[in-house]
Symmetry: D2
Subunit: 341 residues, 4 copies
């Protein structure tokens, strides 16, 4: 059996475990006030080329999205996403739970279209009755998207420009950001993302950590008493060191980028393998997640040896499934997979 169903099936990068052990008996302050959190935040600021940014470490992605969004929106505002955005469907309504609407715009291979965004906001303000409606108060994109696709620098710049013109923040969900940054087909660097977005997060859970996401407020725009908001959402770990040590490790000597690159290298091998075997791709993904359309009988056969992720029904006889590489994928995994395809 070989496992390609997701990028969170393994534990943590061994260097993380080593450093958790190494620092285990140091007496440290709680709630993120320890030196490893401090160090991690400094290293992240440097990596982002954004010395004035403000970095916070939170345990999980759904939580991060809810805390950031509800802390930045006024109560009469909602957040704009595509229909495939993670906050739109797969987070159990955690945004609505905080009292805010998620506006769902069409997606294009998982991406938000700048023109459609612009039109949506313009239509809102053109409506005589818009004071009776939820105000658009934030734009949410993910990069890579749910479909593994990436915004180009031009696309993200256009969205960013619209947000600034309208005075609403742009929030980028980077649960898999490392895989986006190391893609062979991206023209967006981490400092560019930091410059274009008002807030974004660098995913740890899916890129080598046991848990943890690093939120970066890029424009001196951290919501007031943000730590209290994290606590209020139940997101403040007493042992903040757990996140501090992990991100300090990931951002030491470029480990985050190095292990992200591994996922991309293995994904390229995976793509070639799938293509060679004649599999049909659902779309062209330049990152670690690959989506193929498989005939249902064949899928049942495949699943005896290969764990894949169910994505969606394609038609009555075909299914879209996901195969994901990660920081942990090895050549041996790919070779074993080759036997079963």
């Amino acid at each position: 059996m070989v496992y390609f169903q997701s990028d969170y099936i393994m534990g943590a990068h061994p260097e993380i475990l080593r450093r958790l052990g190494e620092t285990n008996f140091e007496a440290l302050a709680g709630y993120g006030f320890d030196k490893y959190c401090d160090s991690a935040k400094e290293k992240i600021k440097v990596a982002c080329g954004c010395p004035d940014s403000d970095v916070w470490l939170i345990a999980g992605g759904t939580q991060t999205n809810a805390i950031v969004i509800s802390s930045m929106l006024a109560r009469y505002e909602g957040v704009i996403s595509t229909v495939t955005g993670h906050i739109g469907f797969h987070e159990a309504g955690s945004i609505e739970y905080t009292g805010h609407k998620v506006f769902l715009l069409p997606h294009h291979n998982g991406k938000l279209d700048a023109d459609e965004l612009d039109g949506f906001i313009k239509d809102f303000y053109a409506d005589d009755n818009h004071e009776h409606m939820v105000f658009p108060g934030m734009v949410y994109v993910s990069h890579p998207t749910e479909y593994g696709t990436l915004y180009t620098k031009d696309e993200l710049t256009r969205i960013s420009d619209i947000c600034r013109k309208k005075g609403i923040p742009l929030f980028l969900d980077g649960a898999r950001l490392g895989y986006g940054l190391m893609s062979r087909d991206t023209d967006l660097s981490l400092p560019e993302i930091a410059s274009l977005c008002d807030v974004f997060y660098i995913g740890g859970t899916k890129v080598g950590a046991l848990c943890g996401e690093a939120v970066v407020f890029t424009k001196n725009n951290t919501p007031k008493h943000f730590m209290t908001s994290i606590k209020q959402h139940g997101g403040l770990l007493a042992k903040g060191r757990l996140l501090g040590v992990q991100f300090d490790t990931l951002f030491t000597d470029g480990l985050y980028f190095e292990i992200s690159k591994n996922a991309i290298d293995q994904a390229e091998k995976l793509k070639k393998l799938l293509a060679d075997k004649g599999y049909r791709f659902h779309l062209d993904s330049p990152t670690n997640q690959q989506f193929i359309i498989v005939e249902n009988g064949k899928l049942e056969e495949l699943k005896k040896n290969v764990a894949v992720g169910f994505w969606e029904k394609y038609d009555d006889s075909h299914t879209v499934v996901r195969l994901a590489t990660s920081w942990a994928t090895t050549d041996a995994d790919i070779e074993e997979l080759a036997k079963y395809l």
Copy 2:
């Protein structure tokens, strides 16, 4: 100047004002425990042919929707509406404010399609990851819809059947219910609506009252401590008599139906008039709201003498506008309008 922009431009039916005056100095219990509330509720039960139902009077429609929906949903559930449903856009996110998602399905002249509803729910449960998603917990329809259209008995029965099979309540927003019931093109009676829905409301604000909606729980299914929920939402009037006297009046000697019929009769004249004058209808509405597509220059001209409601942009040179009749529309209004069209 003549006024057709909406059905809430006048005060109340004179009989309501008369009875408010007549009862004004009776010392009555507060919070809906007075005899006029009791009497109104009894008369409404009779009109619904539903002696076991439970009736509650609430001041406004947005409030009613939020109270009913949030009281009937579990916290992990959302409510299904069409994209044109009032709760979807024009209530300032009042449902999300209570923590619940509004699922937006396509509309067909304002109506929800039973097959699409069925497919949506089936797809939800077919999704391996549905425990990570908001559960569909209620279906919301309005009758008449935002576009003045009506469900047929067959259409509402099919939706009702799906709800029962899935075990989720069907909620009908009847802000303009009187106009639906008295339409010449409906095959749905009030008792049939009561029988098909789990909860619905009979609109007063737009049908002759100063304010007030009568919520009917039809299946012995009033949420526990519903009065406390109304209070918690700020919807409990100290002088409940204001609602009691109004609904008691509306449901005495069929006044509600009689004045609703006036709106329909005038709407039929309005339709004929618009057709005769060559106006283009946006869709065919059998109730008191009529939607026409007007060239923008002509619209500016028209607005000098006729107050109409902006509905939506049709194209760069045309606009959809609403003309509404009501319980208060007179022959003289129609005649004056004729002069300006």
Copy 3:
């Protein structure tokens, strides 16, 4: 039978009903954009001596409290009240429903003590862990209080000074404000209240209206998009005229003050009558609500002829009950009551 249980047992002042009738068939804009709302707001500003204030009309008190408080607080903030404050217990948790804590400080005959308030806020900021706690974000007082008592100018000034020093708004719930203003024992005028508070409301429901409270933001401090917040809470009436006409009437020719004075005059007669008959007062109330301690057997006897309001158990054999006068109380009511005491 004679009725003294509360000040909301009658309908509206007849002049209000007369003007509702008079204006009934004027076609008016919805949602508070009509000329009567405009006129009412202007007259209220004048009465408050506060030309720069911003006035909003909302249907009920619980709703008003929830809308004002949740619109002015940041999500990590709570509101300070006394334990007897209406928002603390008798509004079904409507403030917590919007996500905010109500801090309950001791009461002194219903009033908040400035020193205790100051101490509470100082202790909060002195606590090393206050970032883990809800921030005090607003002070709520009622005037008259739940016990009919009144703040002196000095007392309210001291509370106001603390609020300004701490940068948190002072909100005064004036559900019975007229009765406070016309008390023979007050040294606080309406303009002084407007000057000392950041926001307050002038109660209509208990002072001659069928429903309605007029919120006054006194310092150019209306929360952004406040109308949208009202809508989001379900508090925006389609027929805003219902509130506009009522408040326009109440603030024409000093009617609000004149009818409030009636309640005070009758309350003074009531107090004398109760004292003459040897009843024991629970506390000394200078407004329209009087609280007496009655032996339970005697209370049962009394209730055969006099409707009184249960307030609280005093001890095993005595009960505290309320007798309230209002704008509608007549000499004949007092005379009849005298027969039964």
Copy 4:
């Protein structure tokens, strides 16, 4: 320098780190569906003597409290706590954030008194107006309390009896449960707690884990779709293994109890040491947290060598401080402390 400020200053018990390493490269299902979660849950059920219970692993205590409380309460209900309960003040209003009131009753050395609880609930239902108030829907106690004190079996039984009679669940916050169970002065076992409570949690964060609390629903009473509620609150870790491996380790071969006993043994030495040195105890705590009253000048001196936790101001010249032992406290720590006291 020696560190006694809290029980969460160290990382995790080494055996936990060892097993995280050992299992690191096993491909496991996400979201708590892995074999280590399963195993941990089974072992916890056995330890609780409660085979029918249902166990869930959640990352932190504040989060656990908010999820459990808001999932078990109806929207019109609140939770009863003492004024010193953690949910009452130190969780940043996370319960109110979910829309629920926290009723604050007096504490007695941190504990809730059964008679006062009974009286509170009786008074609520005796109040004629209780339908206008938040209903008491749950009782929350912590064991050990914030002050390190413990309920006796008799005390907890009386509270439990009241809850059952009233039909409201009893929830026990066991953030430091191990230290309570291993106290030399307790007569309550884990199975007895499981039997008396409807839901409780076994704290990991403060008892040897990096993070994690194990919630036990003892009466076949898990709220429907509880996993979805955890997700909705942002509390569902993608790598559930992080919690599974930790609790599986803690409940293998009685490790949880063994390391809890260490904290108690060291606390007894600490108590003796403090008493010998003439320190004054704020109260008598039988668990790992000790509270002493120190003169402020002396405290400044002490803090040069000993990290202690600020608790509260005692008077103008004295402060209450906490010294806590934990699973990680060694004889050497106590010996070093002795030098500085």
